[in-house]
Protein backbone atom coordinates (compact mmCIF):
# COMPACT_ATOMS: atom_id res chain seq x y z
CA UNK A 1 0.00 0.00 0.00
CA UNK A 2 1.25 3.46 -0.83
CA UNK A 3 0.40 6.31 1.44
CA UNK A 4 0.22 9.82 0.12
CA UNK A 5 0.52 12.69 2.50
CA UNK A 6 -0.57 16.11 1.35
CA UNK A 7 -0.32 19.43 3.05
CA UNK A 8 -3.54 20.38 4.77
CA UNK A 9 -4.53 23.96 5.51
CA UNK A 10 -6.25 25.01 8.68
CA UNK A 11 -9.40 25.95 6.78
CA UNK A 12 -9.71 22.46 5.37
CA UNK A 13 -9.83 20.78 8.76
CA UNK A 14 -13.09 19.58 10.23
CA UNK A 15 -13.36 21.14 13.66
CA UNK A 16 -16.62 19.33 14.34
CA UNK A 17 -14.97 15.94 14.03
CA UNK A 18 -13.91 15.69 17.66
CA UNK A 19 -17.41 16.61 18.78
CA UNK A 20 -18.82 13.87 16.61
CA UNK A 21 -16.49 11.34 18.18
CA UNK A 22 -17.20 12.61 21.69
CA UNK A 23 -20.92 12.23 21.16
CA UNK A 24 -20.61 8.47 20.66
CA UNK A 25 -21.11 6.09 23.55
CA UNK A 26 -17.69 5.74 25.15
CA UNK A 27 -16.21 8.65 23.23
CA UNK A 28 -16.68 11.35 25.87
CA UNK A 29 -13.11 11.32 27.16
CA UNK A 30 -11.49 11.93 23.80
CA UNK A 31 -10.77 15.56 24.76
CA UNK A 32 -8.47 14.48 27.57
CA UNK A 33 -5.71 12.87 25.54
CA UNK A 34 -2.29 14.05 26.73
CA UNK A 35 -0.45 12.46 23.80
CA UNK A 36 1.64 10.25 26.06
CA UNK A 37 1.80 7.47 23.48
CA UNK A 38 1.01 4.64 25.88
CA UNK A 39 -1.68 3.39 23.51
CA UNK A 40 0.71 3.13 20.58
CA UNK A 41 3.33 1.51 22.78
CA UNK A 42 0.99 -1.17 24.01
CA UNK A 43 -0.84 -1.81 20.74
CA UNK A 44 0.28 -5.14 19.26
CA UNK A 45 -0.75 -3.98 15.81
CA UNK A 46 0.56 -0.41 15.75
CA UNK A 47 3.59 -1.34 13.69
CA UNK A 48 1.34 -2.42 10.83
CA UNK A 49 -0.82 0.69 11.00
CA UNK A 50 -0.49 3.75 8.82
CA UNK A 51 -1.17 6.00 11.83
CA UNK A 52 -0.55 4.79 15.37
CA UNK A 53 -3.39 5.09 17.90
CA UNK A 54 -1.76 8.15 19.49
CA UNK A 55 -1.64 9.86 16.13
CA UNK A 56 -5.25 8.99 15.49
CA UNK A 57 -6.14 10.74 18.74
CA UNK A 58 -4.15 13.80 17.69
CA UNK A 59 -5.73 13.78 14.25
CA UNK A 60 -9.22 13.59 15.73
CA UNK A 61 -8.46 16.61 17.83
CA UNK A 62 -7.06 18.57 14.91
CA UNK A 63 -9.88 17.67 12.56
CA UNK A 64 -8.23 15.34 10.06
CA UNK A 65 -11.51 13.58 9.50
CA UNK A 66 -10.87 12.33 5.99
CA UNK A 67 -7.47 10.95 6.76
CA UNK A 68 -8.68 9.18 9.89
CA UNK A 69 -11.70 7.60 8.27
CA UNK A 70 -9.68 6.51 5.26
CA UNK A 71 -6.88 5.06 7.34
CA UNK A 72 -6.05 1.37 7.52
CA UNK A 73 -5.57 1.82 11.24
CA UNK A 74 -9.24 1.72 12.11
CA UNK A 75 -9.70 -1.58 10.27
CA UNK A 76 -6.54 -3.08 11.65
CA UNK A 77 -7.62 -2.48 15.23
CA UNK A 78 -8.53 -5.94 16.46
CA UNK A 79 -10.34 -4.67 19.59
CA UNK A 80 -7.89 -6.25 21.97
CA UNK A 81 -8.46 -3.41 24.48
CA UNK A 82 -4.78 -3.25 25.54
CA UNK A 83 -4.69 0.47 24.92
CA UNK A 84 -7.94 1.05 26.78
CA UNK A 85 -6.81 -0.58 30.01
CA UNK A 86 -3.49 1.26 29.92
CA UNK A 87 -4.50 4.79 28.94
CA UNK A 88 -3.73 7.07 31.90
CA UNK A 89 -6.61 9.36 30.92
CA UNK A 90 -9.21 6.60 30.80
CA UNK A 91 -9.91 7.16 27.15
CA UNK A 92 -11.83 4.27 25.68
CA UNK A 93 -9.61 4.06 22.64
CA UNK A 94 -11.01 0.75 21.43
CA UNK A 95 -14.53 2.13 21.54
CA UNK A 96 -13.38 5.17 19.63
CA UNK A 97 -11.87 2.89 16.98
CA UNK A 98 -15.27 1.20 16.76
CA UNK A 99 -16.96 4.56 16.38
CA UNK A 100 -14.55 5.48 13.58
CA UNK A 101 -15.28 2.24 11.76
CA UNK A 102 -18.98 2.97 11.97
CA UNK A 103 -18.50 6.50 10.64
CA UNK A 104 -16.41 5.15 7.78
CA UNK A 105 -19.09 2.62 6.90
CA UNK A 106 -21.84 5.21 7.16
CA UNK A 107 -20.03 7.66 4.97
CA UNK A 108 -19.23 4.84 2.63
CA UNK A 109 -15.56 5.60 2.38
CA UNK A 110 -14.11 2.17 2.95
CA UNK A 111 -12.82 0.35 -0.13
CA UNK A 112 -15.59 -1.92 -1.37
CA UNK A 113 -13.58 -5.11 -1.64
CA UNK A 114 -11.35 -4.48 1.33
CA UNK A 115 -11.98 -7.67 3.28
CA UNK A 116 -12.81 -6.29 6.71
CA UNK A 117 -15.89 -4.23 5.76
CA UNK A 118 -16.94 -7.17 3.58
CA UNK A 119 -16.72 -9.45 6.58
CA UNK A 120 -18.73 -6.95 8.62
CA UNK A 121 -21.44 -6.78 5.96
CA UNK A 122 -21.76 -10.53 5.53
CA UNK A 123 -21.66 -11.15 9.26
CA UNK A 124 -24.42 -8.71 10.10
CA UNK A 125 -26.56 -10.01 7.23
CA UNK A 126 -26.29 -13.53 8.55
CA UNK A 127 -27.18 -12.49 12.08
CA UNK A 128 -30.19 -10.52 10.88
CA UNK A 129 -31.44 -13.41 8.76
CA UNK A 130 -30.79 -16.35 11.04
CA UNK A 131 -29.92 -15.03 14.48
CA UNK A 132 -26.76 -17.09 14.46
CA UNK A 133 -23.53 -17.45 12.51
CA UNK A 134 -22.31 -20.44 10.57
CA UNK A 135 -18.55 -19.94 10.40
CA UNK A 136 -17.97 -22.11 7.35
CA UNK A 137 -20.52 -20.26 5.26
CA UNK A 138 -19.31 -16.91 6.51
CA UNK A 139 -15.69 -17.58 5.58
CA UNK A 140 -16.64 -18.86 2.15
CA UNK A 141 -18.72 -15.75 1.50
CA UNK A 142 -15.92 -13.54 2.72
CA UNK A 143 -13.41 -15.11 0.36
CA UNK A 144 -15.77 -15.01 -2.59
CA UNK A 145 -16.60 -11.37 -2.14
CA UNK A 146 -13.14 -10.07 -1.34
CA UNK A 147 -10.48 -12.35 -2.73
CA UNK A 148 -11.80 -15.44 -4.51
CA UNK A 149 -8.32 -16.77 -5.17
CA UNK A 150 -7.74 -17.34 -1.52
CA UNK A 151 -10.35 -20.07 -1.55
CA UNK A 152 -7.83 -22.35 -3.21
CA UNK A 153 -5.25 -21.69 -0.53
CA UNK A 154 -7.67 -22.58 2.18
CA UNK A 155 -9.90 -25.21 0.63
CA UNK A 156 -7.57 -27.83 2.09
CA UNK A 157 -8.02 -26.44 5.56
CA UNK A 158 -11.76 -26.28 5.02
CA UNK A 159 -11.89 -29.95 4.07
CA UNK A 160 -9.84 -30.88 7.09
CA UNK A 161 -12.11 -28.97 9.43
CA UNK A 162 -15.14 -30.55 7.83
CA UNK A 163 -13.73 -34.02 8.40
CA UNK A 164 -12.96 -33.19 12.00
CA UNK A 165 -16.58 -32.17 12.50
CA UNK A 166 -15.72 -28.52 13.02
CA UNK A 167 -17.63 -27.07 10.08
CA UNK A 168 -21.29 -27.57 9.35
CA UNK A 169 -23.15 -27.06 6.11
CA UNK A 170 -26.62 -26.22 7.34
CA UNK A 171 -27.24 -22.63 8.42
CA UNK A 172 -27.57 -22.16 12.14
CA UNK A 173 -30.78 -20.52 13.15
CA UNK A 174 -32.83 -19.56 16.15
CA UNK A 175 -36.35 -20.95 16.44
CA UNK A 176 -38.09 -18.04 14.89
CA UNK A 177 -35.64 -15.94 12.87
CA UNK A 178 -38.27 -13.26 12.28
CA UNK A 179 -37.99 -12.42 15.93
CA UNK A 180 -34.57 -10.87 15.30
CA UNK A 181 -36.03 -8.64 12.62
CA UNK A 182 -38.80 -7.54 14.93
CA UNK A 183 -36.24 -6.93 17.66
CA UNK A 184 -34.07 -4.77 15.44
CA UNK A 185 -36.87 -2.88 13.76
CA UNK A 186 -36.57 0.78 14.48
CA UNK A 187 -33.05 0.53 15.84
CA UNK A 188 -31.04 0.49 12.67
CA UNK A 189 -28.92 3.50 11.92
CA UNK A 190 -29.76 5.23 15.20
CA UNK A 191 -26.83 6.15 17.38
Amino acid sequence: MQIKRNIKYESELDKEFIKEVASMYGGEEVYNCIQCGTCSGTCPISLYMDYTPRRIMAMIRSGFKDEVLKSFTIWLCSSCYSCTVQCPMNIKITDIMYALKRMAIEENICPRKFPIPVLAREFTKMVRNYGRINEGRLTTKLFFKSNPFKIFNYSNLGMKLFKLGRIKLMPETIKNPKEIKTLLKGLEGKK
Binding site: M24, S79, K101, F123, L157, K185
Partner: protein, 287 residues
Protein backbone atom coordinates in the same frame (compact mmCIF):
# COMPACT_ATOMS: atom_id res chain seq x y z
CA UNK B 1 -25.19 -26.17 43.76
CA UNK B 2 -26.24 -23.30 41.54
CA UNK B 3 -27.59 -23.81 38.05
CA UNK B 4 -26.17 -21.91 35.12
CA UNK B 5 -27.58 -20.86 31.79
CA UNK B 6 -24.96 -22.07 29.37
CA UNK B 7 -24.48 -19.66 26.45
CA UNK B 8 -22.24 -21.45 23.92
CA UNK B 9 -22.20 -18.89 21.13
CA UNK B 10 -21.72 -19.71 17.47
CA UNK B 11 -18.06 -20.84 17.45
CA UNK B 12 -18.42 -23.26 20.32
CA UNK B 13 -21.09 -25.02 18.28
CA UNK B 14 -18.84 -25.00 15.21
CA UNK B 15 -15.08 -24.85 14.91
CA UNK B 16 -14.68 -25.07 18.67
CA UNK B 17 -16.81 -28.17 19.16
CA UNK B 18 -14.01 -29.72 21.23
CA UNK B 19 -14.26 -26.82 23.65
CA UNK B 20 -17.93 -27.53 24.24
CA UNK B 21 -17.37 -31.26 24.57
CA UNK B 22 -14.56 -30.93 27.08
CA UNK B 23 -16.25 -28.11 29.00
CA UNK B 24 -19.47 -30.02 29.48
CA UNK B 25 -17.58 -33.21 30.39
CA UNK B 26 -15.67 -31.26 33.04
CA UNK B 27 -18.89 -29.63 34.32
CA UNK B 28 -20.40 -33.07 34.67
CA UNK B 29 -17.38 -34.42 36.52
CA UNK B 30 -17.46 -31.46 38.91
CA UNK B 31 -21.20 -31.66 39.44
CA UNK B 32 -21.90 -28.26 37.91
CA UNK B 33 -25.44 -28.02 36.65
CA UNK B 34 -26.13 -26.20 33.41
CA UNK B 35 -28.86 -25.83 30.86
CA UNK B 36 -28.24 -24.48 27.43
CA UNK B 37 -29.80 -21.04 27.22
CA UNK B 38 -32.91 -21.69 25.26
CA UNK B 39 -33.03 -20.13 21.80
CA UNK B 40 -29.92 -17.99 22.30
CA UNK B 41 -28.77 -15.76 19.44
CA UNK B 42 -25.38 -14.62 18.17
CA UNK B 43 -23.75 -12.02 20.43
CA UNK B 44 -22.50 -10.04 17.43
CA UNK B 45 -18.89 -10.56 18.50
CA UNK B 46 -16.48 -7.74 17.75
CA UNK B 47 -17.98 -7.32 14.32
CA UNK B 48 -21.47 -6.04 14.96
CA UNK B 49 -20.04 -3.35 17.18
CA UNK B 50 -18.18 -1.88 14.25
CA UNK B 51 -21.38 -1.69 12.22
CA UNK B 52 -24.08 -0.72 14.66
CA UNK B 53 -23.43 -0.50 18.36
CA UNK B 54 -27.03 -0.18 19.51
CA UNK B 55 -27.97 -3.31 17.61
CA UNK B 56 -25.00 -5.15 19.03
CA UNK B 57 -26.13 -4.27 22.56
CA UNK B 58 -29.72 -5.19 21.76
CA UNK B 59 -28.71 -8.61 20.47
CA UNK B 60 -26.84 -9.33 23.68
CA UNK B 61 -29.70 -8.02 25.76
CA UNK B 62 -31.99 -10.61 24.23
CA UNK B 63 -29.72 -13.35 25.56
CA UNK B 64 -29.57 -11.76 28.98
CA UNK B 65 -33.31 -11.32 29.04
CA UNK B 66 -33.71 -15.01 28.20
CA UNK B 67 -31.41 -15.97 31.07
CA UNK B 68 -33.14 -13.61 33.44
CA UNK B 69 -36.49 -15.12 32.61
CA UNK B 70 -35.18 -18.32 34.14
CA UNK B 71 -33.40 -16.54 36.96
CA UNK B 72 -30.01 -17.89 36.08
CA UNK B 73 -26.46 -16.59 35.73
CA UNK B 74 -24.94 -16.95 32.29
CA UNK B 75 -21.79 -18.95 31.73
CA UNK B 76 -20.09 -17.93 28.49
CA UNK B 77 -16.98 -19.90 27.47
CA UNK B 78 -16.17 -17.79 24.40
CA UNK B 79 -14.15 -14.67 25.18
CA UNK B 80 -15.95 -12.58 22.57
CA UNK B 81 -19.40 -13.52 23.88
CA UNK B 82 -18.21 -12.98 27.41
CA UNK B 83 -16.88 -9.53 26.66
CA UNK B 84 -19.87 -8.42 24.62
CA UNK B 85 -22.33 -9.49 27.32
CA UNK B 86 -20.31 -7.76 30.02
CA UNK B 87 -19.90 -4.65 27.94
CA UNK B 88 -23.61 -4.53 27.19
CA UNK B 89 -24.39 -4.70 30.86
CA UNK B 90 -21.93 -1.92 31.57
CA UNK B 91 -23.25 0.35 28.84
CA UNK B 92 -26.89 -0.17 29.71
CA UNK B 93 -26.10 0.91 33.22
CA UNK B 94 -24.15 3.94 32.09
CA UNK B 95 -26.44 5.25 29.35
CA UNK B 96 -30.12 5.52 30.26
CA UNK B 97 -31.16 6.43 26.71
CA UNK B 98 -29.60 3.23 25.44
CA UNK B 99 -31.39 1.30 28.14
CA UNK B 100 -34.67 2.82 27.07
CA UNK B 101 -34.18 1.94 23.41
CA UNK B 102 -33.29 -1.63 24.28
CA UNK B 103 -36.21 -1.92 26.65
CA UNK B 104 -38.64 -0.93 23.90
CA UNK B 105 -37.05 -3.28 21.46
CA UNK B 106 -37.18 -6.22 23.82
CA UNK B 107 -40.79 -5.58 24.69
CA UNK B 108 -41.66 -5.87 21.00
CA UNK B 109 -40.81 -9.56 21.30
CA UNK B 110 -42.26 -9.96 24.76
CA UNK B 111 -39.04 -9.87 26.77
CA UNK B 112 -37.67 -7.64 29.48
CA UNK B 113 -34.28 -7.21 31.02
CA UNK B 114 -33.59 -5.57 34.36
CA UNK B 115 -29.81 -5.47 34.04
CA UNK B 116 -29.12 -7.94 36.82
CA UNK B 117 -27.99 -11.03 34.96
CA UNK B 118 -24.52 -12.08 36.04
CA UNK B 119 -22.11 -13.20 33.33
CA UNK B 120 -19.32 -15.63 34.12
CA UNK B 121 -16.53 -17.38 32.32
CA UNK B 122 -16.02 -21.04 33.28
CA UNK B 123 -12.61 -20.10 34.71
CA UNK B 124 -14.32 -17.91 37.30
CA UNK B 125 -16.65 -20.73 38.23
CA UNK B 126 -13.82 -23.19 38.68
CA UNK B 127 -11.37 -20.97 40.50
CA UNK B 128 -13.58 -18.52 42.39
CA UNK B 129 -16.88 -20.30 42.96
CA UNK B 130 -15.63 -23.86 43.45
CA UNK B 131 -12.07 -23.26 44.57
CA UNK B 132 -8.88 -25.04 43.65
CA UNK B 133 -9.03 -27.45 46.58
CA UNK B 134 -12.32 -28.81 45.36
CA UNK B 135 -10.96 -29.09 41.80
CA UNK B 136 -7.89 -30.95 43.04
CA UNK B 137 -10.05 -33.65 44.56
CA UNK B 138 -11.03 -34.78 41.07
CA UNK B 139 -7.51 -35.32 39.76
CA UNK B 140 -6.81 -38.94 38.93
CA UNK B 141 -4.01 -38.86 36.37
CA UNK B 142 -0.62 -37.19 36.43
CA UNK B 143 0.06 -34.86 33.53
CA UNK B 144 3.57 -35.82 32.55
CA UNK B 145 5.70 -34.34 29.78
CA UNK B 146 3.29 -31.51 29.23
CA UNK B 147 4.77 -28.02 29.52
CA UNK B 148 2.04 -25.53 29.00
CA UNK B 149 2.19 -21.92 27.84
CA UNK B 150 -1.02 -20.39 29.24
CA UNK B 151 -2.49 -18.09 26.61
CA UNK B 152 -5.34 -15.81 27.68
CA UNK B 153 -5.69 -13.58 24.67
CA UNK B 154 -7.40 -10.29 25.09
CA UNK B 155 -11.06 -10.07 25.81
CA UNK B 156 -11.52 -12.28 28.81
CA UNK B 157 -9.26 -10.17 30.99
CA UNK B 158 -10.19 -6.69 29.85
CA UNK B 159 -11.70 -4.27 30.22
CA UNK B 160 -15.24 -4.85 31.48
CA UNK B 161 -14.26 -7.57 33.89
CA UNK B 162 -12.38 -7.96 37.11
CA UNK B 163 -11.37 -11.55 36.51
CA UNK B 164 -7.70 -10.85 37.06
CA UNK B 165 -4.89 -8.49 36.13
CA UNK B 166 -5.64 -7.31 32.57
CA UNK B 167 -2.05 -7.56 31.35
CA UNK B 168 -0.56 -10.41 33.33
CA UNK B 169 -3.36 -12.61 34.65
CA UNK B 170 -2.57 -15.79 36.55
CA UNK B 171 -5.92 -17.36 37.18
CA UNK B 172 -5.55 -20.07 34.51
CA UNK B 173 -1.93 -20.67 35.53
CA UNK B 174 -3.00 -21.48 39.05
CA UNK B 175 -5.85 -23.67 37.87
CA UNK B 176 -3.55 -25.69 35.61
CA UNK B 177 -0.89 -25.96 38.29
CA UNK B 178 -3.41 -27.15 40.83
CA UNK B 179 -4.25 -30.13 38.62
CA UNK B 180 -0.58 -31.05 38.31
CA UNK B 181 0.40 -29.46 35.01
CA UNK B 182 3.66 -27.60 34.61
CA UNK B 183 3.12 -24.09 33.38
CA UNK B 184 5.87 -21.99 31.83
CA UNK B 185 6.36 -18.26 32.23
CA UNK B 186 4.69 -16.72 29.19
CA UNK B 187 4.98 -12.93 29.04
CA UNK B 188 2.92 -12.57 25.87
CA UNK B 189 -0.04 -14.35 27.42
CA UNK B 190 -2.45 -11.50 26.75
CA UNK B 191 -1.01 -10.29 23.47
CA UNK B 192 -3.57 -10.32 20.70
CA UNK B 193 -3.89 -13.27 18.27
CA UNK B 194 -5.38 -10.91 15.71
CA UNK B 195 -8.98 -11.99 16.17
CA UNK B 196 -10.62 -11.96 12.77
CA UNK B 197 -7.57 -10.38 11.10
CA UNK B 198 -6.19 -13.80 10.15
CA UNK B 199 -9.10 -14.17 7.75
CA UNK B 200 -8.95 -10.65 6.40
CA UNK B 201 -5.44 -9.20 6.51
CA UNK B 202 -3.57 -12.43 6.57
CA UNK B 203 -0.04 -11.02 6.66
CA UNK B 204 -0.71 -9.32 9.95
CA UNK B 205 -2.67 -12.20 11.46
CA UNK B 206 -0.04 -14.78 10.62
CA UNK B 207 2.76 -12.70 12.06
CA UNK B 208 0.96 -12.14 15.36
CA UNK B 209 0.42 -15.87 15.73
CA UNK B 210 3.94 -16.68 14.64
CA UNK B 211 5.26 -14.52 17.47
CA UNK B 212 2.98 -16.20 20.00
CA UNK B 213 4.06 -19.73 19.08
CA UNK B 214 7.73 -18.85 18.76
CA UNK B 215 7.71 -17.24 22.19
CA UNK B 216 6.04 -20.31 23.70
CA UNK B 217 8.76 -22.53 22.25
CA UNK B 218 11.49 -20.20 23.50
CA UNK B 219 9.96 -20.48 26.96
CA UNK B 220 10.22 -24.25 26.85
CA UNK B 221 6.55 -25.02 26.26
CA UNK B 222 5.43 -28.00 24.23
CA UNK B 223 1.79 -27.02 24.07
CA UNK B 224 -0.40 -23.95 24.50
CA UNK B 225 -3.56 -23.83 26.58
CA UNK B 226 -6.29 -21.44 25.50
CA UNK B 227 -9.74 -20.39 26.65
CA UNK B 228 -11.27 -18.88 23.54
CA UNK B 229 -12.45 -20.46 20.27
CA UNK B 230 -10.90 -17.79 18.09
CA UNK B 231 -7.50 -17.96 19.80
CA UNK B 232 -7.53 -21.73 19.39
CA UNK B 233 -8.46 -21.46 15.75
CA UNK B 234 -5.90 -18.82 14.89
CA UNK B 235 -3.05 -20.58 16.64
CA UNK B 236 -3.87 -24.03 15.33
CA UNK B 237 -5.48 -23.76 11.93
CA UNK B 238 -2.98 -21.30 10.49
CA UNK B 239 0.13 -23.14 11.63
CA UNK B 240 0.69 -24.59 8.22
CA UNK B 241 0.47 -21.17 6.58
CA UNK B 242 2.74 -19.75 9.26
CA UNK B 243 5.30 -22.47 8.61
CA UNK B 244 5.23 -21.67 4.92
CA UNK B 245 5.49 -17.93 5.41
CA UNK B 246 8.19 -17.99 8.09
CA UNK B 247 9.98 -21.22 7.17
CA UNK B 248 9.25 -22.42 10.67
CA UNK B 249 8.58 -25.95 11.70
CA UNK B 250 5.81 -25.55 14.23
CA UNK B 251 3.79 -28.53 15.28
CA UNK B 252 2.36 -27.08 18.44
CA UNK B 253 -0.76 -28.60 20.01
CA UNK B 254 -3.26 -25.93 21.04
CA UNK B 255 -5.52 -27.30 23.78
CA UNK B 256 -8.52 -25.83 25.50
CA UNK B 257 -7.82 -25.54 29.21
CA UNK B 258 -10.88 -27.71 29.77
CA UNK B 259 -9.26 -30.48 27.73
CA UNK B 260 -6.24 -30.33 30.02
CA UNK B 261 -8.52 -30.49 33.05
CA UNK B 262 -10.38 -33.45 31.58
CA UNK B 263 -7.11 -35.25 30.96
CA UNK B 264 -6.08 -34.80 34.58
CA UNK B 265 -9.51 -35.98 35.71
CA UNK B 266 -9.06 -39.14 33.65
CA UNK B 267 -11.97 -38.46 31.31
CA UNK B 268 -12.05 -40.27 27.96
CA UNK B 269 -10.42 -38.86 24.84
CA UNK B 270 -13.75 -39.04 23.10
CA UNK B 271 -15.53 -36.96 25.71
CA UNK B 272 -12.83 -34.28 25.48
CA UNK B 273 -12.97 -33.92 21.71
CA UNK B 274 -9.30 -34.85 21.41
CA UNK B 275 -9.81 -36.26 17.93
CA UNK B 276 -10.90 -32.91 16.56
CA UNK B 277 -7.44 -31.35 16.69
CA UNK B 278 -5.49 -30.54 13.57
CA UNK B 279 -2.26 -30.79 15.55
CA UNK B 280 -2.73 -33.86 17.67
CA UNK B 281 -2.15 -33.72 21.41
CA UNK B 282 -2.98 -37.32 22.06
CA UNK B 283 0.61 -38.21 22.93
CA UNK B 284 0.12 -36.21 26.11
CA UNK B 285 -2.80 -38.33 27.12
CA UNK B 286 -2.07 -39.88 30.50
CA UNK B 287 -2.24 -43.67 30.65
Amino acid sequence: MKEYAYFPGCSVKGTAKAYEESLLAVFKELGIIWNELEDWNCCGATIYMSVDETISFTLSSRNMALAEKNGKDIVAPCSACYLVLKKTKDYIEKYPDLKEKIKNSLSSIGLSYSGNTIVKHPLEIFVNDMGLNEIKRHVRKPLKEMKIAPYYGCQIVRPYTDVDNPIYPEIMDSLLESIGASVVEYPVKTRCCGGSLTGTIEEVGLRLNYILIEEAIKRGANCIAVLCPLCQFNLEAYQESINKMYKSNFNMPILYFTQVMGMAFGLSKQSLGMKRSIVSAEHFYPV
